[in-house]
């Protein structure tokens, strides 16, 4: 939204292509987000006279300078002079026995569902995994009158304290943390703690947690569990953008290794909404040919990038989490491929060929991050369609129709 507003205010003709039904990504999901920042940016985008293409998923690049997206069973080709990618991030899910039960969702996942109408008033919820998102989600759930029974962060207390003291100088972040903490005071907060199993017949009924040598089981209705975030780099990779350490490499103008393609926000390194907004503004101004406006934000970006680095260090994953899956724990949820089937495969590609892991609809977006952590596999390059596309959409494509007719 920041990129859109700045580019449009710079006098450019701007279109935004978004899979969601309205702008705001995950952080501002739900039409009634009361945050002042969200309102400010919504107003700027609304005033900017931008072409909005919602409910559209980019799945291929038919020619340089053109993106192809599926929308309503057909496709739309979007030609661009400059492209700004703001594809966000997704949660990292780590498998453990019972993680596939209905009502086990991500931390951000459960929050998104509540924002879109899931009732949680009076429901018993355990929040687990890793990252500052846990506290934010727990506070959100409490505001919606859920009973948050426990918040379990896998990082040890010592590292969290180090993180907390390092952000003392960042007044905004500190205030945010204090607010979340005070809103969740009644919920026990455990560090060095994670779920070892979830139980239930048709849906979740209880979660077993471990902290050191102690394990205990809590009866609950929902488990909100996610282990930090991973960048959505599929579209940048499709377009040939260079990645470094799993992040899209960008220069000071947020330009990628491909001329006229910019990238802003989580795909360049997970760092939260404030960093994403700054990077979005810089990309918008740079793409619109307003380098001075962009340059004026460099200092803020540098400051906020430091926070992103501290995040990564503080919430690094405990290697004990690699021991969580049992032999019969499903790793690839799309194809029901178990840990036993996967553990002796030498690579992502071999696993895919032998077991179908990663071949399902999510195309490795869920199991890729898990197997990277569990086995050190690298998922390798993407190939179009990078998102499942319906036959009705593919059938409408002229080049494919031509092929059919020549048979």
């Amino acid at each position: 939204m920041a990129a859109v507003a700045c580019a449009a205010e710079g006098g450019r003709h701007v279109a935004v292509v978004d899979d969601n039904f309205t702008l705001g990504g995950q952080i501002w999901r739900g039409k009634d987000t009361p945050l002042k920042t969200a309102e400010v940016w919504r107003a700027r985008v609304a005033a900017a006279n931008v072409v909005r293409i919602q409910g559209a998923r980019v799945f291929a690049q038919p020619a340089p300078g053109v993106l192809r997206a599926e929308q309503n069973g057909s496709y739309v080709d979007i030609a661009y002079e400059k492209l700004i990618l703001a594809t966000g991030a997704r949660e990292r899910f780590l498998p453990f026995p019972g993680w596939t039960l209905p009502n086990v969702a991500g931390a951000g996942g459960l929050q998104a569902l509540v924002k879109n109408g899931l009732f949680v008033e009076g429901k018993r919820i355990v929040v687990a995994g890793s990252g500052p998102l846990l506290l934010a989600v727990a506070a959100y759930l409490k505001r919606h009158k859920a009973k948050v029974l426990a918040i379990c962060e896998q990082a040890p207390l010592s590292r969290l304290l180090k993180f907390a003291t390092s952000i003392v100088t960042d007044k905004e972040k500190l205030l945010q943390a204090v607010v979340y903490k005070s809103q969740t005071l009644s919920a026990p907060f455990h560090t060095g703690c994670w779920p070892v199993s979830a139980q239930g017949k048709e849906r979740l009924e209880s979660v077993t947690l471990r902290k050191g040598n102690r394990t205990w089981t809590i009866a609950c209705d929902y488990l909100a569990c996610g282990f930090h975030l991973v960048p959505n780099t599929e579209v940048p990779e499709l377009l040939g953008c260079r990645l470094l350490d799993g992040k899209v490499a960008v220069d000071e103008w947020q330009q990628t290794s491909i001329l006229d393609i910019y990238c802003a926000g989580e795909p360049t390194g997970v760092g939260g909404v404030e960093l994403a907004l700054v990077e979005g503004q810089i990309a918008g101004y740079a793409a619109a040919g307003l380098p001075d406006n962009a340059r004026s934000l460099f200092a803020e970006r540098a400051r906020r990038r430091k926070f992103a680095q501290k995040l990564e260090e503080a919430f690094a994953l405990d290697s004990a989490l690699k021991e969580l899956p049992q032999d019969d724990t499903v790793i690839c949820r799309c194809e029901d491929v178990s840990y036993l089937t996967l553990k002796d495969e030498p690579s992502w590609r071999a696993a895919k060929l032998h077991t179908r892991c990663g071949m399902g609809p999510c195309q490795g977006r869920i199991c890729g991050a898990a197997t990277e952590f569990l086995f050190g596999w690298n998922a390798g390059s993407v190939r179009p369609p990078i998102f499942p596309a319906t036959l009705s959409c593919l059938e409408a494509i002229p080049e494919l129709l031509e092929l059919q007719e020549t048979r």
């Binding site: 899979d19 899910f93 109408g117």
Partner: protein, 80 residues
């Protein structure tokens, strides 16, 4: 006052507030979205349209990502 929408989930009439996604409505009704390749019942995981666990049959069409669809009056939703 948000509008109330009525839809059926596995044949039972349910009510949803305007702005509710089909996935949230399914969860509110205590139903599952789909059965997996080995028959496990599944519900939404990521809540943002990328895991495909929320796939269900909506108005006769299967594989609909229900977390990215808003409830509409008279919708027929079934576990797939």
């Amino acid at each position: 006052m948000p509008e109330r929408i009525t839809l059926t989930i596995n044949g039972r009439w349910c009510e949803a507030l305007e702005g509710t996604t089909v996935a949230a409505a399914i969860m509110n009704a205590g139903a599952a979205c789909r059965a997996s390749a080995t028959g496990e019942l599944r519900g939404p995981l990521c809540g943002m349209g990328i895991c495909f666990e929320c796939r269900a049959i909506v108005n006769g069409k299967p594989h609909q990502r229900t977390c990215q669809m808003l409830c509409e009056a008279g919708m027929e939703v079934n576990t797939q």
